[in-house]
Amino acid sequence: MSDKSGATLHLTTDYRHTSEKSAIQLRRFASKGVSLGIFLGLLILFLLWRTPLQNMRWSTIPPYSGFLLRSLGMSWVLTFSSFLLSMVPAIALAFGKLSRHSWLRYPSTVVIDGVRIIPELMIIFWIFFTAPLVIGQSLDKFASGLIALSVINCAYLTESVRAGIQSVPPGLTLAALASGFTTWQVRLWIVLPIAFWNMLPELRNRLISLFKLTSLLYIIGVREFFGALININNREFAPFATMIIAGAVYFACCYAFEATRFFESKWNKVS
């Protein structure tokens, strides 16, 4: 949300000379560079504070690069598949939460808030360790990780979907009903597509959080990126190198995903 003064600035004509303008731009660019430099310097200082340079053992990592790439792919597969898995129940729960009937509204609220209040690690434990005890059949690591991620994501996604549905103007629903659509047709063909466009930034945030969340699955032994790095660390003992790589790769992936918002604004202009 830009402040109002910024909006009016656009309307007034800039009478400054072109060379002056480019000087301002240059100064802005330089200050960005300086601040980035200062930040990176501080970050490196923070990282190297306690670790002598010869103890980093960077050379232990390259032999594992194929393994690391495969496990990074695994992280992405887990992220996207659990996101898709949780989409349908999230939409159903969101409609349940917005329902007029209390017998639908209360249970879905309780389920969502229940999942949201429990730590993610606890849910992973629930599904990996305790579900087999009750079902009487052990679950595969990958499957239980996928289910845990889907359950967690479903709870958060429901809130986003609910907000998206509520952002659709009620007049639109009434108009669609008046022109002869049934309630379910209105929900499916009118409300959901519009809600989806309004939800896009929120969906992107969910996907980023989900990607970060996959790092916790190492605890049940899923071969995702962080788990792979932990394995390498256990074998080679290079905590500095492995954790720096973990931080850098998670940052790069999340940032790349955040950068898709530029495309998003383009799509919105087209539609």
């Binding site: 930040f39 306690r50 209040i117 730590p119 434990f125 962080f226 940052f251 940032y255």
Partner: protein, 215 residues
């Protein structure tokens, strides 16, 4: 279903569960304070006139928002060689500080620019204006999203078990390994987490009603 429930195991391991809950609180309170302090500092700096300082703050938020807490904790524990407790508190404080900075920034942005100008015009220094005028107004606005962040932090304390700090999830997994009564113990742990969260929500509601300006 051939599983026979045996709830006595919860009662017989009550001291381990309670010490786990205490460990969770022990991490939560200092990490929350650290997170709020970092968040308010960084968030207020983000509304500064100096572009370099503003950029530094946004780089901080960008970096620590996009790195999972578990990576930060592992780094502090294994590479930095802090003890588990300090690593958990500092790591969670830094991680959530970035989120709280965003909340603070939104709060400051929602009180108008003229508030700052008025405060400066009536003779406050910049720091004084933030300390006595802007932050008190913004803090009341940002309390609900701050409460959400506090709940997130409470949940994230479970990550401290990965660096072997004895908190609630750690106790739950230890008792499960000992007794193979995963279902009962996990239920007990979940209930304790829910109770802690409800207490936290109660406290935050109390703070909100206490701070509310009555006209």
């Amino acid at each position: 279903m051939h599983y026979r429930f045996d709830w006595t195991v919860v009662w017989s391991h009550r001291d381990l569960l309670l010490s786990g809950a205490l460990g969770t609180i022990e991490i939560f309170v200092p990490a929350a304070l650290l997170g709020i302090i970092i968040g308010i500092l960084v968030g207020s700096v983000k509304s500064s006139n100096l572009e370099i300082v503003r950029d530094l703050a946004s780089y901080y938020v960008l970096t620590f928002r996009n790195v999972p807490a578990v990576v930060l904790l592992f780094f502090l524990y294994f590479a930095y060689r802090l003890d588990p407790y300090t690593a958990a508190v500092v790591g969670l404080g830094i991680h959530h500080g970035a989120y709280i900075a965003e909340v603070t920034q939104a709060g400051i942005r929602s009180c108008t620019r003229s508030l700052r100008s008025t405060a400066l015009a009536s003779g406050f220094s910049v720091i004084g204006a933030y300390r006595y005028v802007i932050i008190p107004v913004a803090f009341r606005i940002m309390l609900p999203p701050l409460a959400t962040q506090m709940l997130e932090l409470l949940k994230n304390t479970a990550v401290a078990m990965t660096i072997s700090f004895a908190e609630l999830t750690f106790s739950v997994s230890i008792i499960t390994d000992e007794t193979f009564r995963g279902f009962e113990i996990a239920t007990a742990g979940t209930v304790i987490y829910a109770v802690l969260a409800l207490i936290l929500i109660g406290i935050l509601n109390l703070v909100e009603t206490r701070l509310k300006v009555r006209i």
